[in-house]
């Protein structure tokens, strides 16, 4: 797999299955700051309906060309891990296919714009 982690937090090896699709990692509640994540959720409550199906990533135009992974990005941001997110988001072309495939009808394009405002701009 080409996809790599954008978070460079020290990760502790969990159970070794002998294979893996992502680098093993743990959620570190001492480090993760949920305040931003909660502010984002307050502005877009519909994010709570995300089931993490990954349809957005599967159809992603930028994802076909780079390691941009919207599902992972959303998961990490919601978890309070923001490092490198803004740079990742800048790969998005806003084409809108993710919004069309989202089974929960989440306004993904607005989410990209909101995340960028919260994480980098202004």
């Amino acid at each position: 797999m080409r996809r790599r982690h954008t978070s460079n937090r020290n990760s502790v090896a969990a159970i070794d299955w002998g294979y893996g699709i992502n680098k093993a990692r743990v959620i570190n509640a001492d480090v993760n700051d949920l305040r931003m994540s909660e502010a984002i959720l307050r502005e877009m409550p519909e994010l709570q309906t995300c089931i993490g199906c990954g349809g957005c990533t599967a159809t992603c135009t930028a994802g076909a060309l780079t390691d941009f992974n919207f599902r992972m990005l959303h998961t990490l941001v919601r978890r309070g891990e923001y490092e490198g997110m803004y740079e990742q988001l800048n790969k998005c072309m806003l084409c809108g296919k993710c919004r069309l495939v989202c089974p929960r009808g989440i306004n993904t394009r607005a989410l990209v714009m909101l995340l960028k405002r919260k994480l980098g701009d202004n």
Binding site: L65, T66, M93, L94, G96, L100, I106, N107
Partner: protein
């Protein structure tokens, strides 16, 4: 003869303020115009553009021809107020000259001439008495319509009118009073001094018969005072209110004739467009976000208002399909979509300049077969593979060799970013795709996506490459005879004009010709220039999924009211959006699909 009385002071202050405000506004707007715009003015000033502009000013600023086309009562209201008032000033000036000869008379001398003429016992000229009364009646009838319109707007073909700010309300109320008060002041003058035409004269005679002379004398000066205060207040409120449009539309028409245009970035020329909006509210009714979703504060009139007073919010700015239906009806001809787009540019996410560096490593599709025709699928068509397959069948049927620019996916055309105001970032996509297309050596580029086509035609510099929508391409093939789909005389289709294709690129006839070659075309009630938006427009990032669906359903209702069992459209996004809003027995197909399935 002295043309001054104390009651003139409010009027004089108001006019002086208005002229000063106009000088400051026009002056700074013109001064801040980009150099290129100033050059355009210089180059076009002594050409036919100037007389054309003068004619347009008469037609639009005075007669309001475009409003007549919306509704004749509404047109009459605007004409009587604007043209009537103008004639009152003009004939008033001639009247003054007829009485006192060609000499300089201060402004208040013309405006309050009746007062000065009566106090100086200048005698009467019945022709002018009659003319001025007739014109006053003309304007008063307009005021009556304006009051009626506030109460029952449906009456004038408008379901809704604009909600106004304080300055507008002040100016509006004063405006309503100006002419009735003028009537009263002139009538009292006639009652005291005699004279007057069929209107002021008759009311004057009636007043003289019924009201005690002492009362008339007591009311005489105050009436003129009130008239002068109303005028003064109106002129002071004017530069801050919607009535600034009266003096902004005139330079706008000239500048437009000199070929000045708004663009992707805000320029000083935009000021003329923004303040030329009279907030008439004609843009509200066609807005589907109003009719289908009941959102009442985002329409173009409100957007321009908020932009003008520097209180624009993202929730207003981004809540728009940019479908262009409002622009279609705007009587001032303001480029509403362009203005919204450059506001988005101003308020955008500041893009990281290192953005999209990965484009350099994106593999460029080679045109190894040296085909002359290229096909750009576009992101959305990749999501509707039926369209892609249909295009492939059509290409195969014609036997033409076609180069696929992005068969396995590629870089987006840039239109979605442009619509979000990320103009500079979009440029990087445009550059990438331009290189891709240039290097392929094709002479014709076909795309089945209306969104891509719009940006190709507007923003890409691809001279030597003909840019075709697949509807135009298929129509050509049909005319040439290289495609022969079986025509079903008993099958009816209705057509949904995609916003980007119809109002965006002006393509209305090609898709209809294609449909007519495979079946019977039935037009929905709202079609062509006024066709509805599917609700999924990329320009809107505010409304949620449920709201998109409601807009889609209502567009589908209009389409299925024709009785057709197949809705045909020519944009992959519209296709997806409409399909969600249909019931099970209605098919939504792309133009290419209905042709391909009959080959």
């Amino acid at each position: 003869m002295r043309f001054f009385a104390p009651f003139c002071i409010p009027f004089i202050i108001g006019t002086a303020f208005l002229f000063a405000a106009l000088a400051v506004k026009w002056g700074s707007w013109l001064y801040h115009l980009p150099r290129a715009d100033k050059k355009l003015i210089g180059r076009n000033f002594f050409t036919l553009a100037t007389p054309k502009a003068i004619w347009e000013v008469i037609r639009e600023s005075l007669l309001h021809a475009r409003i007549w086309r919306v509704n004749s009562l509404l047109g009459y209201m605007h004409t009587s107020l604007a043209f009537g008032w103008f004639l009152l000033i003009l004939v008033g000036w001639i009247e003054t000259t007829a009485y006192v000869g060609l000499r300089w008379v201060p402004l208040q001398g013309h405006v309050f001439f009746k007062y000065f003429a009566a106090s100086a016992h200048l005698g009467h000229k019945p022709v002018f008495d009659f003319l001025m009364d007739l014109l006053l009646l003309f304007v008063l009838s307009g005021v009556a319509w304006a009051v009626a319109k506030r109460i029952v707007h449906r009456f004038m073909g408008m379901r809704r009118t604009t909600r106004h700010i304080v300055w507008d309300k002040l100016a509006l109320s004063v405006l309503w009073f100006i002419f009735p008060i003028r009537l009263i002041a002139e009538s009292i003058t006639c009652a005291v001094h005699g004279g007057g035409g069929f209107l002021t004269g008759s009311i004057g005679t009636w007043l003289a018969g019924w009201v005690p002379r002492s009362t008339l004398y007591a009311l005489y000066e105050p009436a003129w005072w009130v008239y002068s205060i109303c005028l003064g207040l109106f002129f002071i409120a004017m530069p801050f209110s919607r009535y600034m449009h009266i003096f902004t539309e005139i330079p706008l028409i000239f500048l437009r004739q000199y070929k000045l245009r708004s663009g992707k970035k805000i320029t000083s020329y935009d000021n003329f467009q923004v303040e030329a909006c009279s907030r008439c509210g004609i843009c509200i009714d066609p807005c589907q976000i109003q009719t289908d979703l009941g959102v009442n504060d985002i329409q173009s009139t409100y957007f321009l208002r908020d932009r003008r007073y520097h209180r624009l919010e993202l929730s207003v700015l981004n809540n728009c399909f940019m479908c262009g239906r409002c622009e279609q009806v705007c009587p001032v001809g303001i480029n509403l979509n362009t203005l919204r787009q450059n506001s988005r540019d101003k308020m955008r996410n500041v893009p990281n300049e290192k953005r999209y560096e990965y484009f350099t490593s994106v593999p460029v599709e080679k045109n190894s077969a040296q085909s002359k025709i290229g096909y750009f699928t576009g992101c959305m068509t990749h999501l509707t593979p039926g369209m892609k397959q249909a295009m492939e069948r059509i290409f195969t049927a014609t036997g033409e060799s076609v180069w696929w620019a992005d068969r396995e996916g590629g870089v987006c055309c840039g239109r979605p970013l442009l619509l979000s105001g990320e103009t500079d970032s979009a440029r990087k996509m445009i550059d990438f795709n331009t290189r891709l297309i240039r290097e392929s050596g094709i002479t014709t580029l076909v795309t089945s996506c209306a969104i891509c086509l719009k940006v190709f035609r507007d923003e890409y510099h691809l001279t030597g490459v003909e840019l075709l929508h697949h509807s135009e391409y298929i129509e050509r093939l049909l005319v040439k005879g290289s495609l022969k789909p079986a025509r079903a005389n008993d099958e009816s289709f209705t057509y949904h004009d995609p916003c980007e294709l119809g109002r965006g690129c002006g393509i209305y006839d090609a898709p209809r010709a294609v449909i007519a070659s495979v079946g019977v075309l039935v037009e929905p009630e709202q079609t062509r220039e006024m066709s509805l938006c599917c609700g999924s427009s990329l320009a809107n990032t505010v409304i949620d999924d449920g709201q998109q669906l409601r807009v889609s359903r209502s567009a589908v209702d209009t389409l299925t009211a024709t009785g057709a069992k197949t809705i045909v459209t020519a944009c992959p996004l519209c296709k997806k959006a409409l399909a969600r809003g249909t019931s099970h027995n209605i098919r939504v197909k792309d133009l290419a699909e209905i042709v391909a399935e009959r080959l």
